[in-house]
């Protein structure tokens, strides 16, 4: 009995789960079976707490070629082009070892993409850090950014977009979510992971296996405790140079049709790849663990099964193709080792020195995996009010300056200037813009935006979830793009607590409703639970990556004002109103009024897109955090000022509070008529548009409220980062 308890603790399984294992096997587990169940039934691999709700996602339409179940989702862009994309978290490793944790996060997401047969062409990153004053935070920020830069720059995939948030709820648990997108041209096929063809060979490719990351998957499924520091040895070390060789060689063997199925070794390493390939293909595989190339010859079979050494792939090839396959890998200076073969029986048979040490049916394990419908409450709009009492902002000039001084308001170029944003020679809009744009070989443009505003999640998880889809979609529409599909990374606290689970369910339902409204299915993603330390949970943060398409490169408005004397218009769809991000600078509790009408928002997005496509808008920007004044200020970054006069009925508060949704567009005076004609045709409830001023001058002026020199404000904005993080200036 004592040893059973010990085993359960070591393998992070519950007593109920143990009983399920016994039922599944018809006996008690033995030897490496413990490790296999531990890995495959971990939250990280089995999605046991989230599965019930993930099924609700709007996830299919005619564009979707692959979605959940494969390494990444794939959508058809028409014109014989497709893209694969996905987002994944590497939160726990990045807190323990910021540099390596973030770097291997990038490596892992890239493998998910090229495993599908797509060439990675764009990266994005969504980061949430704690307060600058928190002891280890500068070190973590520095490490994470360097880790992402070291890995992404070296493999040669451009970083085209990102978002960085700061809040005390991330002080002990930062979020590092990596997004990657890959491209399929007319000749390229989508590769999948289901093993098939009895007698085909199982081939191991890439880096040798070491002890790194053993039990990593189950660690990611656990809350942090005081031992976290001592868990360091399980951190994986990434080698971007090796990854680059893997990308090129894998794409080459796929191009030559030498691969029947392929899977990268990610969480739970060889175990999950072998069992997943077998289960998906409904065939068995044999695997000789002693043939796995090792970095350290003292590794036990169990450690080999669980190692999360990076830059490794498992693939299935026909025996007659082996020589050619090996030749191509050799060309790229990589070894390919046959470690087993596809069997007619359903079982995965593991061997050590030609002796069978384990034989399990993967489908049985997957089918009998625990599924939890964790307790949650129906969503209540706790912060919803009928009268907003907390909107009032005194001293607009000072408030505005304080916003620029705050870390949330600070310029973030310190981060993205460390990333190569242009390798690939296809970047049309880089990280300095709200939408990252890469140009496809067909000369169409692909727009990428990441979403989720944690301050809205703190206000309301349902609205925050919808906004994680709508805000990026608005940003895309303002550049003329149609949002096509969504990936997500659901970062939450402990799902065993009903308040966390309630937020999870509310935001997932909100996201799904928004996705369905704009017909942009969720095609891939991951869930990261247990983002809690002792008793503090992070802000529930369902980050998203939204990908959009535009049929030509012409007329993509910039974020920045491009010339003086242009007319500035505010487009306003007034559904939800709140003080928004300014709450946090002014230290007020969040509250909001109204509700989101997804149908109207979808129609509005369509009108915005049409306007941008048909009228020569010079610059455009969604009004985001901190409201109107801050958003207009961000548009002056090329030194062209703004002369604003608020329309009748607007007051000082309207410079700072946030309305879902608002946008700014500018246009040359000669196009005034065509824009207004377009806007007059929009007949939607609560939609209004307003002429608010002109671009130009060297000051930032909002009549009667703010009159400041642009140069001074720009200095404040760009120095703010260094003032918050002295050691990172």
């Amino acid at each position: 009995m004592q040893s059973l308890k010990k085993n359960l603790k070591h393998y992070r399984l519950s007593e109920k789960e143990y009983e399920k294992i016994v039922t599944c096997l018809g006996r008690a587990p033995k030897g490496v079976e413990w490790a296999i169940f531990s890995a495959l039934w971990s939250e990280h691999c089995s999605y046991k707490s989230s599965k019930v709700h993930l099924k609700k996602f709007y996830s299919k339409n005619e564009r979707v070629k692959e979605s959940f179940g494969e390494n990444a989702g794939v959508i058809d862009l028409g014109d014989e082009e497709s893209v694969a994309f996905k987002m994944e978290s590497h939160n726990h490793p990045s807190f323990i070892s910021p540099h390596q944790g973030a770097a291997t996060g990038v490596g892992g997401i890239l493998r998910d993409i090229f495993t599908m047969g797509a060439r990675p062409i764009a990266l994005g990153n969504y980061l949430c850090f704690g307060e600058a004053t928190e002891k280890h935070m500068p070190h973590i920020v520095d490490g994470v950014v360097r880790g992402i830069a070291d890995y992404g720059n070296c493999v040669g995939v451009p970083m085209v977009t990102g978002q960085t948030e700061f809040h005390k709820s991330y002080n002990q648990n930062v979020l590092v979510n990596a997004f990657a997108l890959g491209y399929f041209g007319p000749e390229q096929k989508v590769c999948t992971s289901g093993a098939h063809g009895v007698g085909n060979l199982v081939v191991y490719v890439g880096a040798k296996t070491g002890r790194d990351g053993v039990h990593g998957a189950s660690m990611a499924s656990e809350s942090f405790d005081d031992d976290s520091e001592s868990k360091k040895p399980t951190i994986q070390i990434g080698d971007p140079f090796y990854e680059k060789l893997l990308i090129e060689s894998c794409l080459e063997v796929m191009k030559h049709n030498l691969v029947e199925a392929i899977q990268d070794m990610g969480a739970a390493g060889l175990t999950s790849s072998a069992f997943e390939m077998s289960a998906k293909g409904q065939v068995g595989v044999s695997m000789h663990l002693d043939k796995v190339p090792l970095r350290d010859s003292s590794l036990t079979p169990e450690e080999i099964l669980l190692s999360e050494s990076q830059e490794r792939m498992l693939l299935i090839c026909r025996p007659e193709n082996l020589d050619q396959l090996k030749k191509i890998f050799h060309h790229w200076s990589l070894d390919a080792e046959v470690v087993g073969e596809v069997l007619p029986t359903p079982n995965v048979d593991l061997y050590w020195d030609n002796k069978i040490i384990c034989s399990l049916d993967p489908s049985a394990i997957v089918d009998s995996a625990p599924i939890y419908n964790r307790a949650y409450e129906p969503w209540e709009f706790k912060n919803k009010v009928t009268d907003l009492t907390k909107l009032h902002v005194e001293d607009p000039e000072n408030t505005f300056k304080n916003i620029l001084k705050s870390l949330m308001g600070a310029e973030k170029s310190w981060i993205y200037n460390q990333y190569d944003q242009r390798v690939g020679a296809a970047t049309a809009r880089d990280c300095s813009e709200s939408v990252g744009v890469v140009v496809l070989p067909s000369k169409r443009a692909l727009g990428i935006v990441l979403g989720c505003r944690p301050y809205l999640m703190r206000m309301d998880a349902s609205i925050g979830g919808m906004d994680a889809v709508f805000h990026p979609s608005l940003q895309l529409a303002l550049k003329g793009f149609t949002a096509l599909a969504v990936t997500d990374c659901l970062n939450f606290g402990n799902p065993e607590k009903s308040n966390i689970m309630s937020e999870f369910v509310a935001s997932v339902e909100g996201m799904s409703e928004a996705c369905e409204a704009i017909d942009a299915p969720v095609i891939s993603g991951n869930v990261s639970f247990y983002n809690e330390t002792k008793t503090t949970n992070i802000t529930s943060t369902p980050s998203t990556g939204v990908v959009g398409l535009k049929s030509s490169l012409n007329n993509i408005p910039t974020d920045q004002f491009k010339s003086s004397g242009e007319l500035i218009y505010l487009l306003k769809l007034d559904q939800v109103k709140t003080l928004g991000a300014a709450c946090e600078v002014l230290n007020r509790a969040p509250q909001f009024k109204g509700e989101l009408d997804v149908k109207v928002i979808n129609e509005w997005l369509g009108f915005i897109r049409k306007t941008v496509q048909e009228v020569p808008i010079s610059s455009s920007k969604a009004v985001g955090k901190f409201g109107l004044a801050y958003s207009i200020f961000r548009m002056t970054s090329e030194g062209i000022g703004a002369q604003i006069k608020l329309p009748v009925g607007f007051e000082a508060n309207d410079l700072f509070n946030e309305t879902l949704y608002q946008a700014i567009v500018t246009i040359s005076p000669s196009e005034k008529q065509s824009l207004e004609t377009m806007l007059n045709n929009i007949n939607l409830k609560n939609f209004t548009y307003h002429f608010v001023g002109e671009t130009g001058g060297d000051d930032f002026k909002i009549e009667g409220l703010i009159d400041l020199k642009l140069k001074d404000l720009k200095n404040k904005y760009s120095n703010s980062w260094g003032k918050n993080f002295e050691t990172l200036a």
């Binding site: 360097r146 830069a149 070291d150 720059n153 070296c154 493999v155 040669g156 080698d239 971007p240 140079f241 090796y242 680059k244 060789l245 790229w332 200076s333 993205y416 200037n417 460390q418 990333y419 190569d420 944003q421 242009r422 390798v423 690939g424 020679a425 970047t427 049309a428 140009v439 490169l553």
Partner: protein
């Protein structure tokens, strides 16, 4: 239409971009692999693209400089074939001794991605001639700080070997150097990436000149 060899090492990652750029301006690019020597007379010019050959391990460019293909590159250099090394390619040419100096870590110790303005100091017969003065193209490097000790620097200056300089020094390079050439003026190295400035939608098309006038 000229035949231009594009040298690839393990870890080169701007190879396809350079290949495309050469095609775009109407020349004919051809791959050269790091393990192979090649017939020098077949090529009218060579480009060594940027990236992270051998992961930048040991020193940027150091391991690639010892690859077999470099014997042919050296031979081509001797025969006067125009050779351009971009970013990591520049580092490789320095490490191979085909260009003076060495590129060390940026002064600020961080990778820098940004647009820079360049001033032409010595027009070359190839790679844009005198058409590239005041061009704006992007840099993206961690080891881009050009270093030469004062005596050698003087020599390089006296021999008009400074090809291009930064208008505003981003990385601590001595004498604001962004690109240098050899004594014969046929081998050139440049830290910024002209292949990333080939269309207005990239931010600028001033990089086209580098590849057009080979």
């Amino acid at each position: 239409m000229k035949r231009v060899g594009v040298v690839r090492f393990l870890g080169t990652n701007c190879d396809r971009d350079v290949f495309k750029a050469i095609e775009q301006v109407g020349h004919t690019p051809e791959w050269l692999w790091y393990e192979d020597s090649f017939e020098v007379s077949k090529y009218e010019a060579l480009v060594i693209p940027g990236g992270f050959s051998y992961g930048d391990y040991l020193r940027s460019g150091a391991l690639a400089a010892k690859a077999p293909v470099m014997n042919s590159v050296s031979e081509a250099a001797k025969k006067g074939v125009p050779i351009l090394g971009i970013c990591n390619g520049f580092q490789i040419l320095c490490e191979a001794g085909l260009l003076p100096g060495v590129l060390i870590k940026n002064e600020g110790l961080r990778f820098i991605d940004q647009w820079v303005k360049l001033n032409l100091q010595t027009p070359l017969k190839s790679w844009g001639g005198s058409e590239i003065d005041k061009c704006e193209i992007p840099i993206a490097h961690g080891d881009g700080c050009y270093f030469l000790e004062p005596e050698s620097l003087k020599k390089v200056m006296d021999q008009d070997q400074i090809w291009m300089t930064y208008d505003k020094n981003p990385n601590g390079s001595v004498a604001d150097i962004a690109g240098v050439t050899n004594k014969n003026k046929n081998v050139a190295g440049l830290m910024p990436h002209p292949e990333r400035a080939m269309w207005d939608w990239m931010g600028s098309s001033s990089g086209t000149n580098f590849f057009e006038f080979i």
